[in-house]
Amino acid sequence: MSSDAMAIRVAEAAGRPWAEVLHDWITTVDHKRLGILYILFAMLFLVIGGIEAIVIRVQLMHPHNDFVSPQVFNRMFTMHGTTMIFFVIMPFMFGFANYLVPLMIGARDMAFPRLNAFSFWLTAFGGMLLYFSFLGGSGLYGAGNAPDVGWWAYAPLTSRAFSPGHSADYWTIAVLVSGFGSIGTATNIIATILSMRCPGMTLGRMPLMGWMTLVMSGLVLISISPLSAAQIMLLVDRYLGGHFFDTQAGGSAALWMHFFWIFGHPEVYILVIPAFAFASEIIPVFSRKPIFGYPVMVAATVCIGFISMSVWAHHMFTIGMDSAANTFFVLTTMAIAVPTGIKIFNWLGTMWGGKIQFKTPMLFCVAFLFQFLIAGLTGVMLGAAPFNWQLSGSYFVVAHFHYVIVGAILFCIFGAVYYWFPKMTGRMLNEGLGKLHFWLFVIGFHLTFDPMHIPGLLGMPRRIYTYEPGRGWDTWNVIISIGAFIQGIATLLFVVNLVLSYFKGPRAGNDPWDAWTLEWAVSSPPPAYNFARIPTVASRRPLWDRKHPEDPDSRYE
């Protein structure tokens, strides 16, 4: 009977005027719709940030290229970095958390649905504000355009003298506003996980996605807030004549660096822990085995959360800290490799002896494992202060963190989209196009970011808009740019796949992957109320128990 009611509602929806549908989406407080809005917003900005990356790579393809002016180049790398961190990866992560966490823990919605909508729109308007700077950045002064201070916005570049007009203000306020949105969503996720779990869903039975999202949200609370505080200080400096970062009045530029990186390093873990969460959900399902070492995975995640709060100054070895500080930050940075290594072994342990199915989501996760390992290894290299003194600010660093953000995080996001798209839309993504997307993206990724280490080692600094020929960087830069174009084409294929499959893809059914977490127990897409009856859970794999009543997991836990 309920399915009839659903069918009627769908038929009604199909015939409704578009303005009403739009109104529904804009005023929605449903966690699933907000999750999808977050993800669509992130995809839009992924394409925009990607175009900026392509502009950067075209400019750097040849020495003495003049595709864009130095000023535009500065704007491009600033906007690329800010967009990708704050308006692509974070909204992706919040979108998936929003959509999946209530379903996975057997709840009807988030703890605070209206706060959820408010937080999303803060982030969305933050992103729009950042891009409005292209039009409004010059303000009354006729100077500046989009922000061009780099995504760290180091003092004194952001002072009135060096950033006239409003470009730096657009950056500050966009990041501040979206930061408040992040804090709201993180609060919501924590309250949902702690207060809304269905009966039997103890913390020890929660899917790893729940645990990792919980740790990520805790990190958001303690690390986005310092950034907000620093942005408020910057606004005080720029608008009220304060002296926080004004070296001529005794202020300290290094203090901004500390405040920024107190945010900036945990931020890396805010981005990567949800990626771990996707891998921890996808790898077991496609290995046909439960996750290996669940308690250790949880412990390692919490451990990473704690250690990540004490590593920030490894971004600042070159500013001249004393040897005690250097030693401390080298040791903590090395230490964080331990829980991360544990995770990699656990994922391998999950795959070991499993009946692995190389579907597209799994392919992305397997590539993630390899690439994340290499990213971690160059991270350990850069974590050693003497090595860092040599290579800080070079393309080696750029290669390293793109290996993390593209090679690990973006790959997991693609995997997650292929894995959960059927749940969100009711249709499967095209597997052939998916595999083509995967292989093209892998080739493009490695063509870009493997060679990028080398001009870095040869001394090519980041953020230069052009360079002299004959330094041994030329060929490498051509290869890097070609790789970037291939990644661009692969991403376009992905978008095509999304659109085609949304309309023409085969029907997914409730549980296309034969998975074990609660989101697969409801229809695809799930009804607005999620669960007609709030489920009761007896083990970590509630759907396994339901499918195999003769041999339930709960017997062994």
């Binding site: 993180a186 609060t187 269905c198 310092p226 505080a229 620093a230 200080m233 005080v236 005794g250 709030i534």
Partner: protein, 198 residues
């Protein structure tokens, strides 16, 4: 939603999770603490580094009376919410009003201090590092007191209209958590600005 609560009720008594309002407020308090920490660190880092006067020692007097006002408002809000829990509406309203009054008195104290600093000592946010850090740290706290007072007043108005009863006590308790936090932050700000920073 009512359907949901009824089916949860089928698992009797064993499934108790924390109240989501309290968890949410605890999260907000954690985030706010991080913001205040950064401002406190900046204050301490720049203490004594101003290139020009006036210095804190010359111009700051510890506002002992107003501090007592604010801290005792933590007690009055505690009593107010206890009374509400037991259904004593009149006592709740009077203690709630006393809390607003004490908070307002504290804000008045901050205003008087700022007036004196600006008009007698010429200290503004752009005068020197001390001015920048002092006004932003104390101002951030005063902003939180103001937000708290607005929310307390809304509850008070609803209370006058007879809309706040013991069934709202869990929500009122959430607001009182926030107010306790604002008071606790003042203990830190007071120590940093008026004791360590001088």
């Amino acid at each position: 939603m009512s359907e949901g609560t009824s089916s949860v009720a089928q698992a009797p008594g064993t499934w108790n999770l924390p109240y989501r309002g309290k968890v949410g407020m605890a999260c907000l308090i954690i985030a706010e603490s991080a913001i205040f920490t950064i401002f406190v660190v900046a204050y301490l880092f720049y203490a004594g580094k101003s290139l020009a006067g006036p210095t804190p020692r010359e111009v700051l007097d510890p506002p002992i009376f107003y501090t007592i006002c604010l801290l005792s408002s933590s007690l009055t809000i505690h009593f107010a919410s206890r009374f509400l829990e037991r259904g004593g509406r009149g006592a709740f309203l009077s203690f709630w009003f006393l809390t607003i009054f004490l908070g307002g008195l504290f804000l008045f104290g901050t205003g008087r201090e700022w007036h004196r600093l600006i008009y007698e000592h010429g200290l503004t946010i752009s005068t020197n590092l001390f001015g920048t850090t002092y006004y932003s740290l104390v101002g951030l706290h005063a902003f939180h007191v103001t937000v708290g007072l607005i929310m307390l007043s809304i509850v008070f108005l609803f209370g006058l209209a007879g809309r706040v009863g013991s069934e709202q006590s869990a929500r009122v308790e959430v607001l009182s958590m926030y107010w306790h936090f604002v008071d606790a932050v003042w203990v830190v700000v007071f120590t940093v600005v008026y004791i360590l920073g001088r």
